[in-house]
């Protein structure tokens, strides 16, 4: 446990080799290969039905894979029952035992390992303090708020020093503010424990804010994986660009290619894109993803390489930012966001504004 630990624990590595799970004729997980480095915080991100929970449940041992294998530091654990894996798990909805006090809930994993309550008391206390719940040890779960229950579930999952910590959408039932607080706490807990975390969520914000690595899943397959910044800045496909953050999609015909950039024509409007013209279709069509916050909004025509004008059709004010919907002649409807306090345009519907961005602000993505 953290206090008094030598810090030598570096977590365990987990590998999935060609993992698959078939339900009837539907492949929930379809040949997934994955390496989770020691001590890392890895997030499986995807919409419902993408197979992320099935993968986590296979790792935990609750779902028997149809094919492939799961390795923990080179040990094949594919056929191990859940209780022989020594993984901590935080369930969606917490799954605290309602007939036990907080302290007894946390004692449970130690108790089944043959530790008496007296011997476990120091560990129980440590775990509770780690999640700032020391004062509520004698309460029953039904007497706790959602956030407190979540902390207890966490303490219960780490008290026996598991080889891995598996988290199944642990924050999904909490309100927005609490969710944001717990993201900080989870991340700092991960740093203090050094345990390998595998986290499942459909919330892209949670994935971006906490993970070392994000695996984006779609229809049981890995769509793209990488560090959060890389995934956000360089989405490989339309799906990733749309699922991780928001994007405008510009579909154009490739024109001239030179000097690590190319021109393309979108709705009659010539535009410039940095990089190679990848993933072009037979017809010469290319798909460009443009993040809303990378568009500069001005009242006059900007000096930016790419500039179009349009009319504001709707806007939302978020305190820190404005989100605009702009109707343009050539590119159709675009969304653009800007920090509210530096907003250079008059936010009113019908107002004509200019949108400008540089060739390296957008990325070429595959249309899938």
């Amino acid at each position: 446990m953290p206090e008094g630990s030598t810090g030598a624990r570096s977590g365990h590595a987990l590998s999935l080799r060609n993992l698959s799970k078939v339900y009837g004729s539907l492949a929930a997980v379809d040949g997934v290969d994955l390496d989770v480095p020691r001590g890392s915080f890895l997030t499986l991100l995807g919409p419902s039905g993408s197979g992320k929970t099935t993968i986590l449940m296979s790792i935990a041992g609750f779902v028997e894979p149809s094919g492939g294998s799961i390795l923990l530091d080179d040990t094949d654990i594919t056929r191990f029952p859940p209780d022989k894996r020594n993984f901590g798990m935080v369930f969606q909805g917490y799954a605290l035992f309602p007939h036990m006090t907080v302290a007894d809930n946390i004692w449970f994993p130690l108790k089944v390992r043959g530790v008496s309550k007296a011997d476990a008391s120091a560990k129980i206390k440590n775990a509770l303090e780690l999640v700032q719940m020391g004062h509520l040890a004698e309460r029953y779960p039904s007497q706790l708020s959602g956030g407190q229950q979540q902390r207890v579930a966490l303490a219960r999952a780490i008290v026996f020093e598991p080889d891995l910590l598996l988290l199944d959408e642990p924050l999904s039932a909490l309100d927005k503010k609490l969710r944001a607080d717990l993201q900080w706490e989870l991340k700092s807990l991960h740093q203090r424990l050094g345990t390998t975390f595998i986290y499942v969520t459909h919330d892209q914000e949670e994935a971006l804010s906490m993970s070392d690595t994000i695996i984006i899943l779609r229809d049981g397959k890995i769509e793209q994986q990488g560090v959060p910044g890389e995934l956000y800045e360089k989405p490989a496909t339309r799906f990733v660009a749309d699922f991780l953050g928001k994007s405008n999609f510009l579909e154009g015909t490739v024109g001239e290619v030179k000097d690590g950039a190319f021109t393309y024509v979108c709705g009659g409007q010539p535009l410039v894109q940095a990089g190679a013209a990848k993933h072009t279709k037979m017809s010469g069509q290319v798909l460009i993803a443009l993040r809303p916050e990378k568009i500069a909004l001005t009242t006059e025509r900007p000096a930016a390489t790419n500039a179009v004008s349009g009319q504001i059709t709707a806007f939302n004010y978020y305190g820190s930012a404005y989100h605009f919907q702009v109707k343009t002649e050539a590119l159709g409807d675009l969304i653009a966001t800007t920090p509210a306090w530096t907003c250079a345009i008059e936010p009113s519907i019908g107002n004509t504004i200019w949108l400008g961005w540089e060739p390296d602000a957008s990325v070429v993505v595959r249309d899938r």
Binding site: D83, N86, A95, F160
Partner: protein
């Protein structure tokens, strides 16, 4: 609430109250009344509870049969309910149908069916003899064994239903959580599932025990006069020996013992919670 409105509500429940008074409370008071006035006023009938060995024996038989019946029924009911909670939707529907099926058969028919199965020349004895497992027919009926078989059969749905309904409220995820935290299947059941199904077990135990105490037809038919329980003796006193004072005394005692057992249980568990009133 407005006073006049409250008066209207009282009038609305008046028919129900009246019905209870005429058909339930009044006869009950009469039973109590006869028990202290017939044949002579006083507690003479009740002193038989202490003095007469026959009544002691009947009470002991009643309690023994009820306890054994309750224990077997609740354990068997738990197993059936647990299976129902685990299997798929289709199997569950079939199991529920089979459990409820016995409710639709007359208790008389069921008792006679057991007599046919268990008697000396019945299916079970002849079957076992033809298989060469026994030489002499077993005595399966007209004794406590037969009575308990018949009573367990009758009571089983009464145990299955409350246990099953309690089990449907237990989150399957909690058992998974226990397994994930390192508990073997048995420990996960013993430490998590079983304690959570306790309310169902308690209500089933109370229901079956209370029903068993006053059970009449099955013990009378399967006991064949050899296993006399309180309710059968009440019937004998009323209709054959015509000792109404004794009969009503036993009936009142039966009623009190139901209250007593409920009061005992209530010391340990919140009955309102168990029966879903809270």
């Amino acid at each position: 609430m407005h006073a006049s409105l409250r008066r209207v509500y009282w009038w609305l429940i008046a028919p129900a109250v009246l019905l209870m008074l005429v058909f339930y409370i009044y006869p009950l008071i009469q039973v109590l009344w006869i028990s202290v006035t017939d044949p002579v006023p006083g507690l003479g009938n009740y002193s038989e509870l202490i003095d007469r060995a026959l009544i002691h024996r009947i009470w002991m038989t009643t309690i023994r049969v009820c306890v054994i019946t309750t224990a077997i029924t609740v354990v068997a009911g738990y197993i059936v309910a647990y299976t129902m909670a685990q299997v798929g939707e289709r199997q569950r529907t079939w199991m529920m149908f089979c459990v409820l099926l016995t409710f639709w058969l007359s208790v008389l028919i069921r008792a006679f069916a057991w007599v046919m199965l268990l008697r000396t020349q019945g299916l079970i004895n002849t079957g076992l003899q033809e298989l060469g497992l026994i030489d002499q027919p077993l005595r399966l009926v007209r004794n406590e064994f037969g009575v308990i078989v018949g009573m367990v059969h009758f009571m089983l749905p009464l145990a299955v239903l409350p246990i099953y309904s309690n089990m449907t409220g237990i989150q399957e995820r909690l058992v998974s959580a226990a397994r994930g935290l390192g508990a073997s299947p048995w420990v996960a059941f013993k430490d998590v599932y079983l304690p959570l199904s306790k309310p169902g077990l308690i209500s089933a135990t109370i229901l079956v025990f209370v029903f068993s105490l006053g059970f009449f037809i099955t013990p009378a038919l399967l006991g064949g006069g050899k296993v006399v329980m309180i309710s059968e003796y009440i019937q004998v006193s009323f209709e054959e020996t015509l000792r109404w004072g004794q009969a009503t005394m036993l009936a009142s005692t039966l009623l009190f013992s139901v209250f007593l057992s409920l009061a005992l249980v209530a010391r340990f568990v919140d009955l309102k919670k168990v029966f879903g009133a809270r």
